[in-house]
Symmetry: D3
Subunit: 251 residues, 6 copies
Amino acid sequence: MILGRSSWPQAAEFLKDSDSKVVLIPTGSLEQHGPHLPLLTDSLIAEAVAGRVEALRPDTVLLTPTLWLGASEHHMAFSGTVTATDSGYLAALNSVFASLNRHGAWKFLVLNGHGGNEALNELAAREASRQSWLAAAAGWYRFVPDSVWEATLTGRDRMIRHADEAETSVMLHLHPDLVAMEKAVDDGLEIEPPVPGLASGFHQRTTHGVLGRPTLATAEKGAALLEAAVQGAVAAVDALSGPLGFLQPED
Amino acid sequence: MILGRSSWPQAAEFLKDSDSKVVLIPTGSLEQHGPHLPLLTDSLIAEAVAGRVEALRPDTVLLTPTLWLGASEHHMAFSGTVTATDSGYLAALNSVFASLNRHGAWKFLVLNGHGGNEALNELAAREASRQSWLAAAAGWYRFVPDSVWEATLTGRDRMIRHADEAETSVMLHLHPDLVAMEKAVDDGLEIEPPVPGLASGFHQRTTHGVLGRPTLATAEKGAALLEAAVQGAVAAVDALSGPLGFLQPED
Amino acid sequence: MILGRSSWPQAAEFLKDSDSKVVLIPTGSLEQHGPHLPLLTDSLIAEAVAGRVEALRPDTVLLTPTLWLGASEHHMAFSGTVTATDSGYLAALNSVFASLNRHGAWKFLVLNGHGGNEALNELAAREASRQSWLAAAAGWYRFVPDSVWEATLTGRDRMIRHADEAETSVMLHLHPDLVAMEKAVDDGLEIEPPVPGLASGFHQRTTHGVLGRPTLATAEKGAALLEAAVQGAVAAVDALSGPLGFLQPED
Amino acid sequence: MILGRSSWPQAAEFLKDSDSKVVLIPTGSLEQHGPHLPLLTDSLIAEAVAGRVEALRPDTVLLTPTLWLGASEHHMAFSGTVTATDSGYLAALNSVFASLNRHGAWKFLVLNGHGGNEALNELAAREASRQSWLAAAAGWYRFVPDSVWEATLTGRDRMIRHADEAETSVMLHLHPDLVAMEKAVDDGLEIEPPVPGLASGFHQRTTHGVLGRPTLATAEKGAALLEAAVQGAVAAVDALSGPLGFLQPED
Amino acid sequence: MILGRSSWPQAAEFLKDSDSKVVLIPTGSLEQHGPHLPLLTDSLIAEAVAGRVEALRPDTVLLTPTLWLGASEHHMAFSGTVTATDSGYLAALNSVFASLNRHGAWKFLVLNGHGGNEALNELAAREASRQSWLAAAAGWYRFVPDSVWEATLTGRDRMIRHADEAETSVMLHLHPDLVAMEKAVDDGLEIEPPVPGLASGFHQRTTHGVLGRPTLATAEKGAALLEAAVQGAVAAVDALSGPLGFLQPED
Amino acid sequence: MILGRSSWPQAAEFLKDSDSKVVLIPTGSLEQHGPHLPLLTDSLIAEAVAGRVEALRPDTVLLTPTLWLGASEHHMAFSGTVTATDSGYLAALNSVFASLNRHGAWKFLVLNGHGGNEALNELAAREASRQSWLAAAAGWYRFVPDSVWEATLTGRDRMIRHADEAETSVMLHLHPDLVAMEKAVDDGLEIEPPVPGLASGFHQRTTHGVLGRPTLATAEKGAALLEAAVQGAVAAVDALSGPLGFLQPED
C-alpha cells in the first residue's frame, strides 16, 4: 500500500496485522551527479525500486514517501547540492520509524539510493533494533547479485561509485528525458588513495563530479540492474514479513 | 527552474545572479485528513501551488522538492500519520536554506500546506533572517485574498481548518482519484473552546479527523482557490526577487 | 496563590485538588521598546495582568514568577536587548510545566506579553498537550475583545504592534515613572512588505524601534485595555479550571 | 544602571565605555526552603544583594533581572519546587552573556543565591572565558568574610547550608512578612555521610527540607550578613571594572 | 575486579549481588602539566589510586578503565592539551553509569584526578542520583586528611593546585621516568585575583603552566599523599558498599 | 611520539612541522567477547597495533591514548558491556581532532578495533574533512592483506567477526594471560539472515556472544595478523605524512 495515497482508516486497516507488514522507506539525496544527470538521481532510483517492490507486494509493503534530503556534505563543492546535517537526517528517519510504530508497524526496510547515507542508515537501524523493532537498511545496489553486475557492466565490481555506468544506465531506463548523455564524461578514474577509510570531498577526487564511466551506459543495462534490484528487495521483504527463524527470540 | 531535475552546472548557471532568484520550498505533511482524503494531502497541495508558481516564473524561482515530513503530533491518534520532531523539522528546513546559500542563494520563500508547520516555519525564517538571508514563510491559503474566500466558500473566514470544504475542493481539482467523497463527513463543528491558544489533539476535537464541512466541496471551488493562491504567491515571488525597497538596508 | 511567596507545605496543600487549579505563567522579554519605554515592558505588562488575575482567583490560580527572557533576536540591533535561544526558551517553559506536573498540576495558562514568544509558546503548549497536560498560551492582547480595541484606540486592529499606542498606554497606566513620553516618536508606519510571513529585524522596518503611534497613548486607554485583558484572562482561567466539556475525553 | 528599567538609547549610552562596566546577574531558584521560608528565597536574597550593589555603583554596574529558574532537582521531592534542566539553565545564562556582549559588554559578575547553581555557573563562566570575556560567578555568601560569619552566627563555618540560621536571618531582615518563624524547625543535623561528593536529594537528608538551625535566626544577624555580602560584592565589582593587572594579557 | 580484564560471565557473576558492589571510575585529563610532567598526569594518578583501591577491595570494587578525556579548555593555550566538550564529557560518564546499571550496578564512585572535571562530575552524580542510583564523585586529594597535607607539604592548604609540589611528588613516586625535575619551575605564585569565582585560562595566570612549587617535590612526599588518598578512598568504598544508614530511605 | 607521556613543550616542538605529522588515535570498546576473552579486547588490540606503528615511526606519529568507550549497544544483553551513545562517541572523537588541530595538527588516522564504531568513525572523519582536515578511519583488520588472511586463517574472508579465530589469535599473541582458551566455544555459525543490512543484537544471533570459531586460534596466527596490520598501518601513515598527490588541491 502506498501510504501517502491512503486515508487514515485505510492505514489503520492495513496495520491491523502488523507482524506480516513491512514498511518500505526510500532514501536518496539531492546532490550533484555530474554534468549529465539530475540532482535528484539517487532519490529517483530508490523511489523507482521501492515503487516496483510495492507493486509486487501490495498487501505486505507499506511504502512511505521518499526521504530525498540526504547526507551530501562531500558534494557541496558542486552547485545545487543540498545536504542534511547528520543529526537532522537521523531525526527524519527515526521519526518515520517511531511514528509508524505508534500505529503498530515494527518491521522496516530502508531502501537507499545514496552511499553517503549508509553510515547514518546503519545508526538508525541500530537504534530501531534497540527499540526491539526490526530494521534493515541497504542500498538498492546491494540487492543486485554479483552475477548480474558482472554480466551487465563493463569490468567493475559490485561496489557502485557515482554517476557512473550503473547509475547512468538506470536513469536512462527510468528517466531518459533527464539524462544528457552528450554531456557525460568519464572521470575520477585515477588510482584510489593508498589509505583505507580516507574521507574526502568529491572536488578532491574528480573534475566533474563523476566517479566512473557513464559514457558506457545504456538503458538496457539499466533495465537489467533495476530488475535485479527489485527482485532482491522483494526477497528481503518476503523474509522480513514472515517468521524470523534466523533470529533468536527476544525473551 | 526545478532543482531536482537540473544538473549541477545548470544550478551553478542559475544561481550566478542570485539577487534576482527566489528559492521556493514547499512544506507539507503526511497526516490524517479524514476518511476521504489521502495522508499526503497537505504536501500535494503545496507542491501543486509551488509547481505552478515555478511554471509561471521559471527564470526566477528555484523549486526544491517538497518537505513532506511535517509537524503532526496532534494528529498521531489517527493511523498512518507520521510526525517530525520539532528539532528535526527545523534541521531539515535550515539545511535547505544553508546548503543553497553556500551556492549563492539568499532569498527563500517557504510555501506551506500544513498549519502545524507554521510556528516552526516562522522560527526557521527568523533564524534565516539572523543570517542576513531573506526568508518568508506562508501557507498557500494566506495568498488567497479574502474576497476569493468569501466568493468561493460557504460561510467561513480566511482561516483554513482541516480536511474541510477548502482542502477537499482543492484536492477534487488536483487529484480527484485520491478523494473518496462518499466517505466525506462534516465534523468538528462544535463551538471552539473558550480559551485562546489551547493546544489539543485532533482526537479531542473531532470524531473523524475533520474540522469543517467537506461535503460542500467541489472541484470548481478548488480551482478558484488554487488559482488565487498561485497568483498571490507569484506576486510574492516578484516582490522578493526585485529590489527590497520595503526594508531598510542592513549596514 | 503566588508560588514564589509560598512555602512548600502551602504548595502541597494548594495542589491537592489539582483538577481545579490553573498554573499561570507570565512570559515577556527584555528588549528594546523605543526611546520612551523600558526594556522590560513586555514582562511588566504580562506580570501585571497575571497578578491581577491571581488576585481575582486566588484559590484557582497558581502564579509563577515571570519568564522575562524572551525570544528577541529580531530586536538585537538595538542595545540592551537580551534574547534567549529558541531551545533555551523552550527548555525554560517546559521546565515549569514539567516540574509543577510532578507536584500534581496539569492545567497551564501561559500569559504572554511578547509577540516574538508566540511561536515558541505554541510549541511548548503542543508538547505539553502531547504529555496529556492541558496547556493554553495567548498574549494578553488576545484577551481584549475587538470591541474594546475599537472603542479605545485610534484606528487600528486587534493585532498589537510594538511600543505603540496600546503598549505605551498600558505602561502609562501601570508604570508612569518608566515612560518618557517626551521621547515617544511615531515610527514604522510605512506600508507592510507585500510578502506574507517575511522575517525581518526591527532595524529593517523602523528607525527608532517603534511600530505604531505611541504619541497617542494615554493612561486611560491603558487602564481600559488592561482591565479588558484581565477580564478575558479570568474567563479563560474559569474555563480551564472547570470540567472540560469542550474537549473529547482521552481514552 | 538597572537594565530592565532603561530604554535602549540609555543602554547604548551606558555601554559606550564597556571596559569599565560590569554586568551583574543575580541567579537564584524557586525551590522549597522548609516550612517557614518562601520558595523564592534564594532569588530574593541574590536580587537584594545585587540591587544594593547597583545602588552603590550605579555608573559601573548594569543590573539584569534575576534568573530565578535554578537547578533544583535535588529538592523536587518537596512540592512547589521548579527546576531547570542543566542545559536549559546554561542556555539562559549564556544568552545573557552573549546578548549583552553583542552590545559591547564583556565583564560579567554572576551573583548567585543557590548552591545548586554553582557547578553550572562555573561552566558558564568558563565558556565565557573561552570567548575571551571576563566572567566571575560566586554566591553572595562567598563575599561575606569569615570573621563576619564567626561573629554573627552560632557555631558554623562559612559554608552555607539550606533554609538555615543564615538564610532565615537574611530573609527576616529583607522580607519579614514572608517568614513564618513559628514553623521554623531545626533539621538535617545528623552527621554527614562519610563519603565526599555524594549526590543526594534533600528528602534523603532532611525531614522538613531544612539543613541547619533556622530557629536561631534574627533580623539583626541577617542585616550583618547582607551588609557584608554587599561590601564584598562591591569590592569585586571595583576590581573587575578596573585594569586587570591580576591577569596576564591575552595576546 | 578489573572490568576490562574480565569476561562477560565474570561480570555477570560479580554483579549478582550488586547492593554490595561499588563501581569505581577514574577520571583524569590529557592536559599540560608544566615543562616537567607528562600530559597524562591527572589520569595516571587517578588510575593509580583507583588501582590500589581495587587491589585492597577486589570483591567489592568493579574498576573501569580511566576516562582520560577531561574538561581542559582552560589549558588549551598550551600545546598537546586535548579537551572534551562539557556535553561530551557528561555523555561519557553517564554512559558508564547507565550501561553498568543495566547490568545491575547502582553504586558508583568517581575518583577524579583533575580539578577541571569537578563541576561536571557533580552534575553527572546529581543526574545519577535523580535516577535513584547512588553516586559520589571526589578528587583523590579530597581523600587525603588535612593532617597529612600539613605533615607532608611545605606550607600549603588542602586545595591542590596544578603541576605543583603535590602532583609532582605523586608522579615522582609513581612514574619517576616521566618526570623531568630539571625542568621544574615554580610558577603562578602571584596573589590571587581579588574576585571569587573568576574563570580564567592558565595562560592568564601562569608563565609555564604551573600553579605552585614543583621544585619542592620528592617521591617520599608523593608516597605519603598517595597512601593517604588510597586509605581515604577505601573508607569511602566501604561506606558505600554497606547499608546506607546515613541516607533516609526513598519510598 | 606518545602524547600522554610528553610534556607540553615537547608537544609544541613535535607539532611545529605539522604537515608531516599524523595523529594516531586508537578506538576500541569495552564489550563482551565471549566467555574466553576480556571485555577490553578491541581496545587492547587497537592499542597494540597503534603502539607498534608509533614505535616504527616515532618522528611522524603522535599517538593519543585509546578511546576505549565504543558503540556497543548491540552487545548490551551481555553483562559488563559498556556502551557510548552515538553522539557521545562522536563528541569524544571530534574533541581529539579539534583540540589537536588547535595546536597545529591536521592529519588524523583513526585506528579502530571495533566494528560497531565504524559508521561513527566514518561520520567523524567526514566532519573532519569538512573542516579541511585530513582524516582516515579504518579497522586494524582492513590493513591486513587478503593474502595474509587466507594464508593464516581457516577458511574465512577478510571480514572479521567477533571473538573469533582472528581476534582470539591476536589476543593469544598479545595477552595470553587474559585468554581462557578452555572456555572458548564456536558460536553464531548459522547462516546469515537473508536480508542485507539487518540490525540485530548479539543475543539474537549467538548463544555465547561469539561469532566464529575461536577454538581454532593460536598465538602464531595472531602474530602473523598483527604484524601484517602494523605493516599496513605504517604504509598508511607514510602516505598521509607525505605530499597528498592522490587528492586534488583545495583552492
